[in-house]
């Protein structure tokens, strides 16, 4: 069995499994993912939250980590929360829409 190569697109697809429960939009379309670095079977992402004090912060960060580790080719995943620059609604993917809008 051959595994798909680990690319940024594969990583982002995996991260789309993580939704903001209030907005109903995934963290990629929300523009929360600032950086993806792939080194062998390890992935490091830098992501933000819609607000720095968001009570969901730790669960979203943990969820993103689990989503990455669920990829068959990933053995190590690091998710770093960053708040510089702060998120704003202009970072939402153009054309992205909440499924409940």
């Amino acid at each position: 069995m051959s595994l798909n190569p680990l690319t940024e697109a594969v990583v982002l697809d995996a991260l789309r499994q993580v939704l903001d429960p209030e907005i109903g939009m995934n963290i990629v379309e929300l523009g929360l993912i600032y950086d993806v670095k792939i080194a062998g079977s390890g992935v490091h992402i830098a992501m933000t939250l819609t607000t720095a004090g968001c009570p969901m912060g730790e669960s979203i960060r943990g969820g993103a980590e689990v989503a990455l580790l669920n990829l068959p080719t990933v053995t190590e995943a690091q998710v770093e929360l960053v708040f510089d620059p702060p998120w704003h609604p202009g970072m939402i993917s153009p054309g992205a829409a909440s499924p409940f809008d």
Binding site: E8, A9, V11, L12, D13, R16, Q17, V18, L19, P21, E22, I23, G24, V28, E29, L30, G31, L32, I33, Y34, D35, V36, K37, I38, A39, A46, T48, T50, T51, A52, G53, C54, P55, M56, G57, E58, S59, I60, G62, G63, A64, V66, N70, L81, V82, F83, D84, P85, H88, P89, G90, M91, I92, S93, P94, G95, A96, S98, F100, D101
Partner: protein
């Protein structure tokens, strides 16, 4: 390999040093205990109106009206606001609650205080009102201290922090004035025998001085000043300030003009300070400060409109629609405020009942409806957070919008607005059957709210967790 940026619409941040931040919020049981207690109090208040509709069909300077009013303002509004602030202030201001333990103690003291006060107002035992009020004031002191220490940690001061600070100052003053009014109605003959160096005697001495000052003003003026301090200074100030944070969060927008938002808070503060003094003194300047408050609220509505026009999330859910309906209720309330502030107004039966309508619409039309709207958002979020947050990324989870019945929310808003209209007309007509009918509409609305709350809380017993499906490519 380094990924190409920007990802999605995010800007390039490769040059910046990432900062590790651990977001913290109190456990969900803390705000939930406040909110559930508050809802019980609201049900009790509406049931009271239905059982005894005369409390809205008579002039409000009456022990039963004052007792029922304190059940609404202390039992429902204050309780829910305290719970929500313990949860929201750390989120809104990107900091951490100073002490969750203190908040739990404050809850117990607050419940003892408000239950005792309502009971003693109802039997008009002002000395006991003062005693239970002192317990409540102790709780408020703990609440204000806890939030002040929390505000002290705010990394970046902003307009929301300013509004919350102002609201806490007005709230403290409200409690002080309320206790002073109670003290002014009491006699302290039982303390005559106490030695002068005893602490109780000194406290009572202080109360006598305050009571002497309050007694110089007429009782109704002092009561109205106390009510405006609490309702406009604390509740409305919070609604305006917190809206500048929550509306952007819920609708994916931003404050469009910080100057405008700041001006609304400044005008509100000037208006409140001036209104309280002029109401107390029955001054000719009352309309000027009433107009200042109205101007502050008009600028708030202007900014709210601008924020909503720029939102990225087109659909407004029923929680937000309820909140906006409450903002719309500011229109009749502000008109009534301007009319009733007119100094040469004849104090007859009609204008007396118009004051009842003003107070009723202020409390139930603006503040309570705004809170119910926000509870439609906050309750599902708190339950979701308590049940599902450990499963993020591991399973398919419901969205908060899927935890509620939109039909029940829509029906709840419509019946609530009908209830407000019927009661307002009934108050003007001094019709007890009309007040009772309107109260029944409010009760149906609260029943629908309760039904939704039960549906939301059912997720604690029956979580809806499904296995993950394969990720789909982005639709971008």
């Amino acid at each position: 390999m380094e990924a190409a940026l920007p990802i999605s619409a995010a800007p390039d941040v490769r040059g910046s040093q990432p900062k590790q931040v651990r977001a913290t919020a109190p456990s969900v049981s803390l705000p939930l205990r406040f909110m559930l207690t508050a809802l019980v109090a609201l049900f009790g208040a509406v049931a009271w109106i239905i059982a005894n509709p005369s409390i809205l069909a008579i002039y409000h300077y009456h022990q039963h009206v004052i007792a029922a009013t304190h059940l609404v303002v202390l039992g429902f509004i204050c309780t829910v606001v305290m719970g929500a602030m313990y949860q929201l202030v750390p989120v809104a201001l990107e900091t951490k609650l100073y002490s969750e333990r203190l908040a739990k103690w404050q809850f117990v003291i607050h419940v003892i205080g408000f239950v005792g006060m309502v009971w003693m107002f109802n039997v008009w035992n002002m000395k006991q009102v003062g005693h239970f009020g002192s317990a409540l004031a102790l709780g408020v002191g703990l609440f204000v201290y806890n939030l002040a220490r929390t505000l002290w940690r705010v990394p970046k001061w902003n307009i929301v922090a300013t509004a919350i600070t102002a609201a806490l100052v007005w709230f403290s003053l409200t409690i002080f004035v309320g206790l002073s009014i109670a003290a002014a109605k009491c006699a302290y003959e039982a303390t005559e025998g106490l030695a002068t160096e005893e602490g109780v005697k000194q406290v009572v001495g202080g109360l006598r001085v305050v009571a002497g000052v309050v007694s110089r003003f007429d009782a109704i003026g002092a009561m109205h000043a106390h009510a405006h301090l609490g309702v406009v200074g604390f509740f409305v100030m919070l609604i305006v300030g917190v809206a500048y944070r929550l509306i952007p969060m819920f609708t994916l927008t931003e404050v469009q003009c910080k100057y405008r938002a700041g001006l609304s808070i400044v005008l509100l503060n000037i208006g409140i300070a001036g209104s309280v003094v002029t109401i107390l003194l029955r001054s000719q300047w009352k309309p000027v400060f009433a107009a200042t408050v109205v101007a502050g609220l008009a600028i708030f509505v202007w900014e709210l409109w601008a924020m909503l026009r720029a939102r990225k999330r087109p659909a407004l859910d029923w929680g937000l629609k309820s909140f906006l309906a409450a903002v719309g209720m500011l229109i009749p309330v502000c008109i009534l405020a301007l009319v009733l502030s007119w100094p040469s107004l004849p104090m007859n039966q009609f204008f007396g009942m118009l004051e009842n309508v003003y107070g009723f619409l202020g409390l139930f039309g603006v503040v309570t409806l705004a809170i119910l709207g926000m509870l439609h958002k906050i309750l599902p979020f708190l339950v979701w957070f308590g049940v599902y947050s450990p499963h993020v990324g591991r399973a398919q989870l419901p969205l908060t919008s899927q935890m509620v019945s939109e039909r029940a929310q829509a029906g709840g808003l419509v019946t609530y607005l009908v209830g407000l209209l019927i009661i307002s007309v009934a108050i003007l007509r001094e019709s007890e059957p009309g007040v009772r009918l309107g109260g029944l509409f409010l009760l149906v609305s609260l029943g629908l709210f309760g039904r939704n709350a039960v549906k939301v809380f059912s997720h604690f017993r029956n979580p809806q967790i499904k296995p993950l499906i394969a990720a789909k490519p982005a639709a971008v």
